[in-house]
């Protein structure tokens, strides 16, 4: 019985020739090796090219914005000498120190006074070299120091938009000539535009400011964060750690995933229908904007949070449960601290998206012309991206650089927000 298999074994090598060692030096082997090395090199070059291309896009964006935008932070001003006693304005320093200053200043005819002063200093038609809103600067000067009413004073008033553009060597020939005359007379200077960082929207590009939109964005983001972060994190914890696995939780999971993919304008319509029309909350307010953006941001935080919680090793939960920690102690002492960096990453992504969002805010009225910074959550306000959208629509030449400057402010805001989040994330990671 044992003979038969042995005979078969003997016959086997006859079928298949005895195995020779592989010859690694043949031409085909060498070709294969060369091809493999070439593939590696090609892939690495492609990857490098992709990285360089994206870096180039980023550099292009930043350089283009900086080149345009830095001029938005400067303003051209013209030296005007005002002989206040000769103007005979219906104002006295004593009256202005009382409580009635605003009303008195409004009724004092400062607009005409500015035109007269401009014509006296710059000759006939001189007022056209000044911004239409130059009288506001004069008003501020008087309010700040009523004693100038008793003497001749020198004021630097904002130049008209064409002069401002000409000062930056981009104006039409007539304005360029006018600017050259002013410069030769030593009546003009270009300096840092503090108004831009202090004021809100205006009709005259020389007088616009970004502070209104910046503060609007800040308030809106605060509302968004205050709502979306706790709700999102709690939902994520509940769904991962407590909810039973059944049809309902599956349904909720699918809904949240879909919610994260809904176009933002739909959230705007939702905000309009519910927050404004049903709850009668104030229009154009950061409160409503924040609520709307929170709806949009929450699913992103929930998804990122669930993934972060899921990636905490189960052995940690076992360890804590094994020495008698309760569910809530397991979550808050062990799971959440380990998941926090991931949750924060998701929050950064969600908040960055919310910060750049325009469409839903247009629906709830945050595109209105708001000339003063919001004082609180329910005041009318606009936000940075909407302000950029509004300014990019303006015809005035001066708005082009203001738009770029606003984009720079938005980018700076975004970077600051991300920097804070990354700092927090690293801090929590260091604790372990």
């Amino acid at each position: 019985m044992s003979d038969i298999p042995q005979v078969e074994l003997m016959r086997m090598p006859a079928d298949a020739a005895p195995r020779r060692p592989t010859d690694w030096k043949t031409e085909s082997m060498q070709r294969r090796i060369r091809r493999r090395y070439a593939a590696e090199r090609r892939f690495r070059l492609l990857g490098l090219a992709a990285v360089l291309l994206s870096a180039a896009f980023l550099a292009f964006l930043l350089i283009a914005m900086l080149a345009q935008g830095w001029r938005g932070f400067t303003r051209t001003e013209i030296r005007i000498e005002v002989d206040f006693p000769a103007m005979a304005l219906p104002l006295t320093p004593a009256a202005l120190r009382g409580g009635d200053a605003d009303r008195l200043l409004a009724a004092a005819g400062l607009e005409e006074a500015t035109i007269i002063a401009a014509e006296r200093t710059l000759g006939p038609g001189g007022d056209r070299l000044l911004s239409e809103a130059a009288w506001l600067t004069m008003r501020e000067a008087i309010r700040d120091d009523p004693s100038i009413l008793g003497r001749r004073a020198v004021l630097w008033l904002p130049a008209a938009d064409p002069i401002d553009v000409a000062a930056k060597h981009a104006g039409d020939p007539r304005s360029e000539a006018a600017y050259a005359r002013l410069r030769d007379a030593g009546l003009v200077r270009t300096g840092f535009n503090s108004t831009f960082l202090r004021d809100a929207d205006a009709t005259d590009p020389a007088m616009v400011g970004i502070w209104g939109a910046l503060k609007g964005s800040l308030l809106t983001m605060l509302v968004t964060l205050a709502l979306a972060f706790p709700i999102g994190v709690l939902s994520a914890i509940y769904l991962e750690e407590y909810a039973p696995r059944n049809r309902w939780t599956d349904l909720i999971e699918v809904s949240i995933n879909n919610l994260a993919a809904v176009p933002s304008i739909i959230f705007g319509l939702l905000g309009l229908a519910i927050f404004l029309n049903t709850w009668n909350l104030p229009r154009s307010a950061p409160l409503v904007g924040g609520l709307t953006l929170a709806l949009m941001t929450m699913p992103v935080i929930v998804i990122a949070g669930r993934n972060a919680i899921k990636s905490v090793p189960p052995s940690i939960r076992d360890a804590a449960l094994g020495i008698g920690a309760s569910r809530i102690q397991v979550v808050f002492h062990h799971v959440l601290p380990l998941a926090l960096p991931g949750i924060l990453t998701g929050t950064i992504i969600g908040m960055a998206r919310a910060l750049g969002e325009t469409a839903p805010l247009l629906m709830i009225g945050m595109r209105a012309f708001i000339a003063s910074p919001p004082g609180g959550l329910t005041d009318p306000a606009t936000v940075l991206p909407v302000q950029i959208f509004l300014w990019s629509d303006e015809v005035g030449r001066g708005f082009v650089e203001k738009t770029s400057a606003a984009i720079l402010v938005l980018l700076a805001f975004l970077l600051a927000m991300n920097a804070i989040a990354i700092y927090l994330r690293n801090r929590f990671e260091q604790r372990w």
């Binding site: 076992d318 804590a320 094994g322 920690a325 372990w432």
Partner: protein, 269 residues
């Protein structure tokens, strides 16, 4: 008679006349429709180390986890039958799971220290159960637990280092110290040495010897030599059933069941 043989006799008698700490009667465990444990009745002694052996998937770890209700965390697990700790039914509605797990501690297969300092790892349990009155008392508990786990001399100068920076064997002893720190009555060990090298394994086994008597110890192992070395009583599980349970020396030298014999002689498993 020599002292040694007297001691052996005493140990033998202890193994023969158990003082039950935990008793299981007719315990079955289901995962959904699948029955993982079939009608197991067993006593866990106070003075002895009890080993659960059996081939992979035989349910020994599952049964171990019913003893401190760790199976509660698995959504579709169901436990039938009765398990008593000092006569108290641990599956009774009035039993507090958190307290039960403090009384019945657990050490897992893979060392799983918290990603915190060595001190925090040990202090966490006493802290959440309010076992220490102040910092000094807590320090005392930490030192005592680390000493009992045979780790104090190695880590006393670096208590604030991360527990995860220790070697595998040290991590496992840290986990044992963590379990001891809440002053449990029973310690369940789920293959505590299977992820460790032989030297670290020997230290763990030595430690089990030292802890014996102070705590009732149940150890799951798939290493029969280890079961023979550390335990006084051994239970053999196969396909969710308890096949044989008895004094370790007898079970290994003179198994009563055919399946036990097949397993310990290496026929399968």
């Amino acid at each position: 008679m020599t002292d040694n043989s007297l001691n052996e006799l005493a140990a033998h008698q202890r193994a023969q006349t158990p003082r039950p700490k935990m008793t299981a009667r007719g315990v079955s465990v289901f995962y959904g429709q699948k029955q993982a444990i079939k009608n197991v009745s067993i006593d866990v002694d106070m003075d002895n180390v009890t080993a659960f052996i059996g081939p992979s998937g035989c349910g020994k770890s599952t049964f171990l986890r019913t003893l401190n209700r760790m199976n509660d965390t698995i959504g579709n697990a169901r436990v039938d039958g009765e398990i008593r700790l000092d006569g108290e039914n641990i599956y009774a509605p009035e039993m507090d799971v958190v307290q039960l797990r403090a009384r019945v501690g657990m050490v897992f297969q893979k060392p799983n220290p918290f990603p915190k300092s060595i001190y925090e790892n040990v202090a966490y349990g006493p802290r959440i159960h309010g076992l220490a009155g102040g910092k000094a008392e807590l320090d005392g508990i930490v030192e005592k637990s680390l000493r009992r786990a045979g780790l104090w001399e190695e880590v006393k100068d670096r208590l604030s280092d991360s527990g995860t920076a220790l070697s595998g064997g040290q991590q496992q002893r840290l986990c044992i110290a963590r379990a001891i720190a809440v002053d449990p009555e029973v310690i369940l060990m789920d293959e505590p040495a299977s992820a460790l090298d032989p030297i670290a394994t020997a230290k763990i086994e030595e430690l089990i010897h030292e802890l014996r008597g102070r705590y009732a110890i149940v150890i799951v192992t798939h290493n029969m030599q280890q079961a023979a070395r550390v335990s006084q009583r051994t239970a053999f599980f196969h396909l969710g059933e308890l096949i044989e349970y008895g004094v370790t020396s007898e079970l290994f030298t003179n198994p009563r069941q055919e399946r036990t014999k097949d397993y310990i002689t290496g026929r399968y498993g």
